[in-house]
Every structure is written in C-alpha cells, then in structure tokens.
C-alpha cells in the first residue's frame, strides 16, 4: 500500500486529489466513493454524516455527502457523475468509521456512473497519485498523518 507523509494512499484507487476523494469501480459497474485518509486527518474526528439520498443524481465534483468534525461542516465531492445507489448505514451509526477505515468500512456512497470512462480519465492513481498528494500536502502545510 502507498503512503504519503504517513497517510495511506492505496495505489489501486482512482483519486481526485484537489477534492481529496477516491473512487473504485466495482464488478457490478457501480463506483464506490470515499474520503482519503489525508482528508480525514485534516478534518479530525468526524461526528456527523449526511449522504445524498438514494436515487438522487450527483454531478461530477459536486457534493455527494456532508460531513461534520470539530464544528466544521463541509461537502465530500463526488469524482464522478451519476445516481446514488447506496449509502453507508454503518457510517450513519458511527461516522468515526470514516477516520478509522476511510478506504473500507468508511466509504461514503455508491454511485451508478453516467459516464465512467469520461469522468475517470481525469482521475489519478498509482505513482501519479502519490506524487500529486505529496505536492498537495506541501501546499497545504501538512505535517503528516499520525
């Protein structure tokens, strides 16, 4: 698994680095979306999660879920356009899962993408993702995931 300044950045996922989110195409064609370990570290302990409702459409780079930590509220922006097909009840019950397991149990939404090929072309993975996150952390003045 790749790491950048102590933050896990799995090399097999696709990232929108600017929005600090990941996407994974599943075998059934849906796309699972979540926050990166880096995004979770910047936010701190997450205490609330409100996803868009199942059946709602989401535009690329627009909010697919709203999260709250330390009295900060902000959107997680979907890296692909499509329709929300699943939300994460385990995260509703325990939003801290986003911090504990951002690439596993802490996923945010699953989306049926409207044009995966076009939208995913703008995402990065592997070594490109690692170097892009290093550059972002430098620009953000980030010390590292603890």
């Amino acid at each position: 698994m790749g790491t950048v300044r102590g933050c896990d950045i799995p090399e097999d996922l696709s990232y929108n680095v600017e929005n600090n989110v990941w996407a994974r195409r599943e075998d059934d064609g849906t796309v699972t979306i979540g926050m990166t370990a880096y995004a979770a570290a910047l936010a701190g302990q997450i205490v609330s999660y409100t996803p868009k409702k199942v059946g709602k459409s989401v535009k690329k780079d627009k909010s697919c879920a709203t999260v709250e930590s330390g009295k900060w509220v902000g959107p997680a922006k979907s890296p692909v356009a499509g329709e929300v097909v699943a939300i994460n009840d385990a995260v509703s019950a325990n939003p801290g899962l986003i911090n504990e397991d951002p690439y596993g149990e802490g996923w945010l939404v699953k989306i049926q993408p409207s044009d995966w090929d076009a939208d995913s072309a703008g995402l990065v993975s592997g070594a490109d993702a690692i170097s892009a996150f290093e550059a972002k952390m430098e620009a953000d003045g980030f010390d590292g995931c603890s």
Binding site: E68, V73, G74, G96
Partner: protein
Amino acid sequence: MQTKQTWRVIDTGLRRAAENMALNKTLLEGHQQGITPHTLRFLQFKPSALLGFHQSAEQELRIDYCAEQGIDIQRRITGGGAIYFDETQIGWELYLDKQTLGTADMSKIARRICEAAARGISTLGVDARYRPRNDIEVDGRKISGTGGAFDGDSILYQGTLLVDFDVERMLRVLRIPAEKLSDKAIASARERVANLKDLLGAVPDMVRVKQSISQAFAEEFGVVFEAGELNEQEQALYGESLAEIDTPEWVYQHNRPANETAVLENIVKSEGGLMRVAVSVDQARQRIKQIWITGDFFVNPRRMVADLEAALKDTPIAEMAENVHRFFDHYPVEMLLLRREDFITAITGALDGEREAAGTA
C-alpha cells in the same frame, strides 16, 4: 514597506435568521466561485433559535415555546450545537481560503481565528481566551461560541459574542430537562456563560466592539479592512440562497425523533460531596453529546467543572473514562476529598441507569 492587502468588512445589521443564513451560503459559495473577496462580516439577529447543520429541531428545541414567543427557528450551514441568538449578541464571521491561512488543518484554522478573536475581545477590558475546540471564554465562562463550514478551498468561520444575554430564555428555547429550569439550575447555567455587560458593568458601545474585533483580525492577518457592500453577483446569489433557506424543507431537513436522544441523570454521594450529573446522549451513535455537572463538592479553580464539561463534548461512550483521565492528567486542580474517579462513577451511573427521554421531565 510592503503594502498591506485590503479585505472587505461588511455590516449587514439586524436581520431575520433566514436572511443571515442565506448570506452565509451566498458568501461561502461566492468565495468559492471567486466573486466574493476575503471578507469580515458583522451581523445581528432578531430572536432566533439556530440549529447546527446536522441537528434536528425536534431533538434540540422547544418548538412550541419558540412559536409562542415569536422566535425564528433556522438551520446554520456550520456545525456544532443549537444556540439562542438575539439582539443582545453580535455575530462575526470570516470568509477566507486555506491558502491564505497557510494550512488545511481544520483545528489549526479554528485555533488561529479564535485566538485572534479572543485578543480583540480582550482589548475591551476582559481576559478572553480560546478554549479548545471552539469556545472563547473569560475565566472559564463562555463568552463566544464558534463553528465553521468549508467548500473546496474556501472557508467560513463564525462566532457569537455575548454583549448582554438572557440565560433563562436560552434555557427555555433549548430542549433540556425541565428541572434544569429551577432557580438553582439557572444560576448554575449563568455561572457557565459570561457577557460583556456583566463583566464591564455596562453595555459597551457596539461600534467599539466591532472595531476591536476587526482590529485584531487585521493584525493577525497583516491586512487592512475597508467597509464595503454586497456586489451585484452576490446580490443575485443571495436571492437564490434565501429562496432555498427560508423554507421548512431547509429548517426541518434532518428530522429525527426526539426520543433518539436521551438525557440520563444520576446523583452520587462521595466523601467529596454530592455530585449531580446529567448526560445528553446520542443513542444511535453511542456518543455523549453534552454533560452537565453540579454539586456541593469543592474544586479549585471552580472553572474546572466547565472545562471538564467542554472536554467531554462529543465523546464516544466507550471512551468516556479514558477522556476523563486524560483531562485530569493535564489539568492542575485542587480537590477536597474528591477524586477523578468520582466523576467517572457518577457519569457511568447515569449512562447505565434508568433512561429518561429528553424533555419529558
């Protein structure tokens, strides 16, 4: 000498909560789109009960009381808990970006802004300090609560400042157990909040209050503020935002049943004295939302109790004892026959005891 950047300061005056919330949305979105410059805004509210973004009106507020009293109910776009806001408070808020702040770490941003605000408040003649994570206090008593929202690189961070304040009215607006409305409980709540009028002996000049805060932010960020107005693009966005926010759909969007949160109480007698705790619990998330501790035990400084309450906000139930220990490990306090374990015992007893639904007392 390097020329300082000029940031905009706007004072939007006394408004309805819906208008103030719509302006929050407008200016944060506007900042993200590049049509809103870095801005400091001062604002005031007609009597309003303001929910945190993720809260439910049914769980947090006495909706009937608000309706009777003509108190508007609104939802913030920022996080945190429900508050009562009226003409006796000033709101301040900053619209900036992470680049200007030099960090994307949300807790560092909150600290920097709160410490600057505390310095500004202190110039009025009180000793205001930042208390992590989101309060500004004077001698352990909260005088300003804060919270934020972000969108991309843009951030909104806002706070209240209690100039004069009706504690009893706040307690009646918020959905807390009825027994908390006894004279003694009101006096105890009054001990936990401070306002400028009480501290200074008179209501300070509002213009001076705002100047003190803007001066402190100007120094912190090395900028000068110039008074301005909303620009045309912001005005257009504001119309759209108000149409979305001034609706029941916005205000009541996160409805959850009132019985999903409970206030659990316990009274414990130890060598150190009588301790009464009330714990507000989010049962779905197994998390302590808030805790109130009162009693006739002796601690010095007295503010330790308020600091412990602040430290235990949003604590997972499973981590309560650990958090109490962590608090006392770093907090110099003198206690008479009272041990830190007494706090843990009292809170544990409340959590394990008979559960009483909020607001039914």
